[in-house]
């Protein structure tokens, strides 16, 4: 039976009197990929910031795995499996590419000072496993040759890959990707689409903001269309794409 992993109800956010998100409601079912499309300024990234807790919402409800989470701080949401990437990539510049990935896994025993000194063996073993996993991930994202470079030295497209790789290292239940394909070369973008689908088969859920219509159609199970701060249309990608309202919003109603 299908379960809703994320449920958003009537979310509102104003910035100094200007409505950015105006009563957005939608749900994402477990083990699906939902695409979120809409014109610039429709409120997509604001919606991400509200869901993940970077902005305080003015009103509305957010449920994650059945639990109310609007008041939960970002890091706790990440700990229970909701992880995001950023539209403007945030590589941790003065850390190596490998270190960026090693940061991903949650609840590492070595993140507690007492374990470092009292249980060095446990920390070392865990670290070895994490490194192994990180190297595999780097291999997949074509970043292996740069593993010891500072992340700040990567190109824009590579930073985007790095960010997605780092998010995957957390073993998230649900991943929110903000324009994951922008600046990524087409071959690799195709490969990413394949990977995302594969991860879905293994139980992961995705919510993806993307403006490349071809890729988003290919990867999504359902598409949500956002306009003026609301989700005004949801459905199968082909249907949404051909809806006159979408066409209107993209080309202008005239």
């Amino acid at each position: 039976m299908v379960q809703e992993i994320l449920k958003v109800r009537d979310l509102k956010k104003y910035f100094g009197g200007v409505m950015a998100v105006d009563g957005a409601s939608f749900s994402v079912e477990e083990q699906t990929i939902k695409g979120l499309i809409g014109a610039n300024g429709a409120g997509k990234t604001t919606l991400f910031n509200l869901i993940t807790g970077y902005y305080k919402l003015d009103s509305g409800k957010i449920f994650f795995k059945g639990e109310r989470v609007e008041q939960m701080p970002t890091f706790k949401k990440a700990q229970i499996g909701m992880v995001r990437t950023f539209q403007l990539t945030k590589a941790l510049s003065r850390m190596t590419v490998l270190e960026n990935l090693l940061l991903g896994p949650k609840m590492q025993s070595g993140e507690h000072i007492r374990n470092i000194f009292l249980r060095p063996k446990m920390v070392a073993d865990e670290e070895a496993r994490i490194v192994e996993k990180a190297l595999e991930t780097l291999e997949f994202f074509d970043l292996m040759h740069m593993k010891d470079d500072y992340a700040g030295a990567l190109s824009g497209g590579q930073k985007r890959l790095l960010e997605m790789a780092r998010a995957l290292m957390t073993d998230p239940k649900m991943l929110l990707l903000d324009e994951p394909f922008a600046g990524v070369n087409p071959t690799l973008a195709r490969k990413l689409v394949g990977r995302i689908k594969e991860l879905k088969e293994r139980g992961m859920t995705f919510l993806i903001i993307e403006h490349d219509m071809t890729l988003i159609t290919e990867v999504s199970d359902t598409l949500s269309f956002m306009n003026q701060g609301r989700i005004i249309l949801e459905g199968a990608p082909e249907d949404v794409k051909h809806d006159p309202r979408v066409l209107d919003a993209y080309l202008g109603g005239g």
């Binding site: 930073k159 600046g183 219509m213 202008g252």
Partner: protein
């Protein structure tokens, strides 16, 4: 003769090129629209022309002079105006002070002020209100009014109707035509492509930082390829 000619411009942010060689030209007195899917580099093009971003290569000729690499305030002094999509008014200044700042480079601005008040009567009504107290539509008007104050030869508009209700959008498009009627050349980036092209003399379609199509406004929209571009089929 073109008043603004952009040739093979490559530009972007620190580590990403957004524009990969864009060329456009605008004739004196024209309204030209640039449309294209999200992320095509439309706003980046405007920011490069106004000097907020330095082009990595290519030339930008404005009235015959190459302005590529000049500082923003010097480009403005040459006769270019710009209305950003957001952050386009000074919130703590009054409406009147906003307009005065627009005319920073001029000594005398009574005539143009009256013209701006004529086109946007609401600004005259609220001239002593602080910009923060204006509504979304009024802010757009103020932003355009501010940019008109130096009487620029070319006015660049970045998504002038974004975030406005359909009714207000109509009003803004009318105002754009009014401004054009005063002899100002207009280059705008717009998501509302249908309407924008319908009031434009010519249009360009950008995709992935490159020119895709170019032509008269009305013909562009009937082009199958343009539709495909937007919807990625």
């Amino acid at each position: 003769m073109s008043i603004l000619q952009v040739e093979g411009v490559v530009s972007g942010y620190t580590d990403i090129d957004i524009l990969n060689g864009v060329s456009i030209h605008i004739g004196k007195g024209e309204i030209v629209s640039i449309i294209g899917p999200n992320g095509a580099g439309k706003s980046t093009l405007l920011k490069t022309i106004i000097g907020m971003l330095k082009p990595r290569s290519g030339s930008i000729l404005f009235d015959g002079r190459d302005i590529a690499g000049m500082t923003t305030h010097n480009i403005v002094a040459q006769g270019m105006g710009f209305v950003p999509q957001e952050k386009n008014t000074f919130p703590s200044l009054t409406v009147m002070e906003n307009l005065e700042m627009g005319a920073f480079l001029r000594h005398e601005f009574t005539d143009i002020l009256n013209e701006v008040y004529h086109i946007f009567p609401v600004l005259k009504e609220k001239k002593n209100h602080r910009a923060t107290t204006l509504s979304g539509g009024e802010i757009k008007m103020l932003a355009m009014g501010r940019a008109m104050m130096p009487e620029p030869q070319v006015l660049l508009l970045d998504e002038p109707t974004a975030g406005l209700s359909p009714k207000l959008r109509e009003v803004v498009f009318e105002k754009i035509m009014d401004i054009n009627g005063t002899g100002t050349t207009i280059l705008m980036v717009e998501q509302n492509a249908k309407k924008a092209l319908s009031i434009s003399h010519r249009g360009y379609v950008l995709e992935m930082g490159e020119n895709r199509f170019e032509g008269e406004g009305s013909t562009l929209l009937e082009d199958e390829n343009v539709l495909k571009l937007y919807l990625g089929e």
